[in-house]
């Protein structure tokens, strides 16, 4: 942190504080506005007799020996409480102007908003054919999206902590999904698929690293062009290979591997311990990346290279090598993420990642370039992606297309609300010239 202010002509610290607290108040005001909207529309907009059901049992009841009682709440009152909570959080942000975790509070408000929306759409009497929210199913569905986002965000953390902007995560997702479906369809092994995805992702990372480290090309431009190239290549191969030989793209889903006993715990069990192997691998990876970056000597080198490469080089760290390693590893992680996406969505189709790679990038920024933060952000984005795709089942009086905008708008809002509060690694995206 201290290294930065020396390196660039930043405004003085008092200016920064003043600007930051102004922005903090703005975020607080937005939180209150969301709270008032929730109160007016989702609470007062529901008739006083309307109620919403809440169930906690997984859709597939066969592996649930337990049964948590269903809950019925009065829509107006539960949403009024949620709205009040939002307003209180917003007021707290404005009055106390906390220096930390403002965006976490914002994230809480966003998640609360999504749940208030859910309570409102399932109310009876109301237009919804389904009178209950399956809380567990919502969490499971969101966790599938969040898992993919976490892979992408971890890839971003790996690359950007070492000072290379990996905007090609989307391309690594596409490449991973493509190879993944091919290997999973032919070998029927998701381990081979994951290895293949890691290889293709790592290869793309290597290409990005090669062009940006050896030839000092603009990393963002190279990344975007790589995504275009991989996107077209996958669509080309889809027509040339998958159309005539559909046996290469059967779209098998990864089976769930239930962990004995703990997968039977209500709610937590099905969400965390009855998932595909990719999910567990992702959990392990979050720990490994956090540990490697913040608790090991190598992680210290990486962060030094990302903050002040010249200083790092002075103490004998090979800047270019560290960056190569991290970008290739990061690419491999995103490649596995692509396989995980395929394994939860099925058959490869051109363009079906629909910008998840970029949302993962935003999740990484929202998570302040930290694995733990990226997880929190990915959960929020995962929930919004899941809801945007599934709210239609509740017969919401809003067009599917408008609902589909939801995760993208949330991403823009989050990225806009953050600035001044988060800071990228100081050397992120800047080519390193060896003198």
């Amino acid at each position: 942190m201290e290294l930065v202010s020396v390196a660039s002509a930043t405004p003085t610290s008092t200016e920064v504080t003043a600007a930051a607290s102004g922005r903090t108040r703005a975020v607080g005001a937005i939180m209150i506005a969301i709270g008032l909207f929730t109160g007016l529309v989702f609470a007062m907009g529901a008739s006083s007799a309307a109620h919403s059901g809440l169930t906690f049992n997984p859709v597939n009841l066969s592996n649930a020996p337990w049964h948590v009682g269903d809950l019925t709440v009065v829509t107006r009152w539960v949403n009024a409480v949620i709205a009040l909570l939002m307003v209180v959080l917003g007021l707290e942000v404005i009055i106390r102007s906390p220096r930390r975790a403002v965006m976490v509070r914002f994230g809480v408000v966003a998640v609360l908003f999504l749940f208030a929306l859910l309570f409102w759409v399932v109310r009876t009497p109301g237009p919804s054919p389904v009178p209950v929210i399956n809380f567990t199913a919502v969490l499971i569905g969101s966790s599938e999206v969040a898992m993919v986002l976490i892979f992408g965000a971890l890839s971003g953390v790996m690359c950007e902590r070492s000072g290379v902007v990996n905007i090609a995560i989307e391309g690594q997702f596409i490449g991973g999904a493509f190879i993944g479906t091919m290997l999973a369809s032919t070998t029927h092994s998701f381990i081979f698929a994951a290895v293949g995805g890691a290889a293709i992702g790592g290869l793309l990372g290597l290409l990005l690293a090669f062009l940006s480290l050896r030839y000092l090309s603009d990393q963002i431009i190279v990344g975007v062009v790589l995504v275009t190239m991989i996107g077209s290549f996958s669509s080309y191969l889809n027509l040339q290979v998958f159309t005539p030989f559909p046996q290469f793209n059967t779209g098998t889903l990864a089976p769930n591997l239930a962990i004995p006993l703990i997968s039977k715990i209500p709610i937590i069990g099905p969400v965390f311990f009855d998932q595909s192997g990719f999910f567990y691998f992702m959990l392990i990876l979050v720990g490994v990346v956090s540990f490697a970056l913040f608790k090991t000597r190598y992680g210290l080198h990486v962060r030094a290279v990302g903050e002040h490469p010249r200083a790092a080089a002075t103490v004998g760290i090979n800047v270019v090598r560290v960056r190569y390693i991290n970008v290739v590893l990061g690419g491999a992680i995103a490649g596995v993420g692509g396989v995980a996406f395929m394994a939860s969505q099925g058959q490869f189709q051109p363009g079906y990642t629909s910008g998840l790679g970029y949302i993962a990038l935003a999740a990484m920024i929202f998570g302040r370039w930290r694995p733990s933060g990226a997880v929190v952000a990915s959960v929020l984005f995962g929930l919004s992606v899941y809801l945007s795709q599934n709210l239609q089942t509740y017969n919401v009086p809003v067009s599917t297309y408008i609902l589909n905008m939801f995760p993208y708008i949330i991403t823009i809002a989050v990225v806009s609300g953050l600035i001044g509060r988060v800071r990228a690694p100081a050397a992120d995206g800047i080519p390193y010239h060896r003198e």
Partner: protein, 417 residues
């Protein structure tokens, strides 16, 4: 004469082995080679021929011949579909007939290039200001929607209707551009993420508009818009009967090129833009209002993209549907690669647009006649740009003489700027 001498020097510099033109040419060749390799490795006939090379003495020769035939057929149809078909040309010259058919490929390439030039000029101006506008495709879509709305809902004489339609397109693009511009200026949100996300938002909005609003063609269930009034369409230059689609949109493109040249090279605002792009800190120190520049550059860039969108609709389909500018081949995405290849200079962008338009149109003809997917054209385009973005790489591959003044063209600034 000193004038002649300096011109000679300029000429020599232009065609010396390290000049951008030579690099671009080599990049194109490398891109085509890559495309050929992709064809070879994905065409079963060719692969089978190579698998069988030990079957008889003539087999290797047969394999080479099959390869050359298939790759040759693909690139031949790319050429004849986008530029000219030599036998057809000879036929037209000797008999004086069939000129329309002979000129169709060039007409198609120009039709494709027209909106591309306009959109790329917008992306190029943004690049010169240090702004990466990946949102050109979304801005073009919104411009197309606004233009089609005006063109289909209002009825008036051509002389007013066309300018109004084009202005609506411009305004639509500006609205889409204003969002990332204002967000970047006032919250610091990085334009790359915001514009990519907006592309998806606008795309969803297009689908919404052409399925469930007044923009949908009455009586239609599909995702298709109303037809533009004939008074708002950009007419084919050689008349509808000629079958040549090249339209008066080319006049709009020419005007945009002149505007871009004047703006960047002659206007003081354009100078401020370029200073901001070259050195934001110095620009701020010299009193340039960087916030205003951020917003303005996005208004201009987005406006041009929007104009490109409506020119596309007004000169080809005369309506828009859910597939308008979809995917990697959407003009807004191609515009990024065109601006990079054309080094963000107006004339460079014109040449690059023509080249990429020829590749795009040729790709369509290749897909029709050989079944090789059109996406190959986009792959070649991106490869060309990757090679151009890394001139040092091309020089190393060909061991070209590197002038000592060669420096990095565009330095990334990352998230913190």
């Amino acid at each position: 004469m000193p004038d002649t001498t300096s011109r000679m020097v300029t000429l020599r510099r232009r065609f010396s082995s390290t000049s951008p033109i030579v690099i671009a040419f080599i990049a194109l060749i490398l891109g085509l080679v890559l495309g050929a390799l992709i064809i070879i490795f994905t065409t079963p006939v060719i692969l089978n021929a190579w698998r069988d090379i030990f079957h008889s003495w003539s087999s290797p020769w047969h394999a080479v011949k099959v390869t050359a035939d298939n790759v040759g057929a693909a690139y031949r149809s790319m050429f004849t579909g986008s530029i000219i078909d030599p036998p057809g040309l000879w036929h037209s010259i000797t008999t004086g007939k069939g000129w329309n058919a002979t000129m169709t490929p060039i007409s198609e390439t120009l039709t494709y290039a027209t909106p591309l030039i306009i959109a790329s000029m917008g992306v190029g101006i943004a690049f010169q200001t240090g702004i990466f506008n990946i949102g050109a495709n979304g801005q073009a879509v919104l411009g197309g929607m606004a233009g089609v709305a005006i063109a289909s809902m209002l009825h008036m004489p051509t002389i007013i209707h066309i300018p109004l339609t084009l202005l609506a397109g411009l305004a639509g693009g500006m609205v889409a551009g204003a969002v990332p511009g204002l967000l970047k200026a006032y919250t610091g949100a990085h334009e790359v993420i915001v514009t990519i996300m907006l592309n998806y938002v606008i795309y969803a909005f297009l689908l919404f508009a052409v399925t469930s609003t007044f923009l949908q063609q009455p009586g239609q269930q599909n995702d298709i818009s109303r037809m533009m009034d004939p008074s708002s369409q950009l007419a084919p230059i050689f008349g509808v009967a000629s079958g040549l689609r090249v339209s008066y949109g080319i006049v709009v493109a020419a005007a945009v090129v002149v505007f871009a040249w004047w703006f960047l090279d002659r206007s003081s605002l354009g100078f401020d833009f370029r200073v901001t792009g070259a050195n934001p800190t110095a620009a701020r120190a010299s009193g340039i209002n960087s916030r205003a520049i951020m917003v303005l550059v996005f208004l201009i860039s987005g406006g041009l993209a929007g104009l490109a969108g409506i020119v596309q609709a007004a000169s080809t389909t005369h309506f828009i549907d859910g597939g308008f500018l979809i995917g990697n081949a959407g003009i807004g995405f191609t515009a990024i690669t065109v601006a990079l290849l054309g080094r963000n200079r107006p004339m460079g962008i014109v040449w690059a647009s023509l080249l990429f338009a020829a590749l795009g149109v040729g790709g369509r003809s290749m897909q029709a006649s050989t079944g090789i997917p059109l996406d190959l054209a986009t792959i070649i385009q991106s490869a060309v740009v990757l090679f151009v973005a890394t001139p040092v790489l091309v020089k190393e591959i060909f061991r070209l003489r590197t002038s000592p003044t060669t420096t990095v063209q565009l330095a990334t600034k990352g998230w913190n700027s």
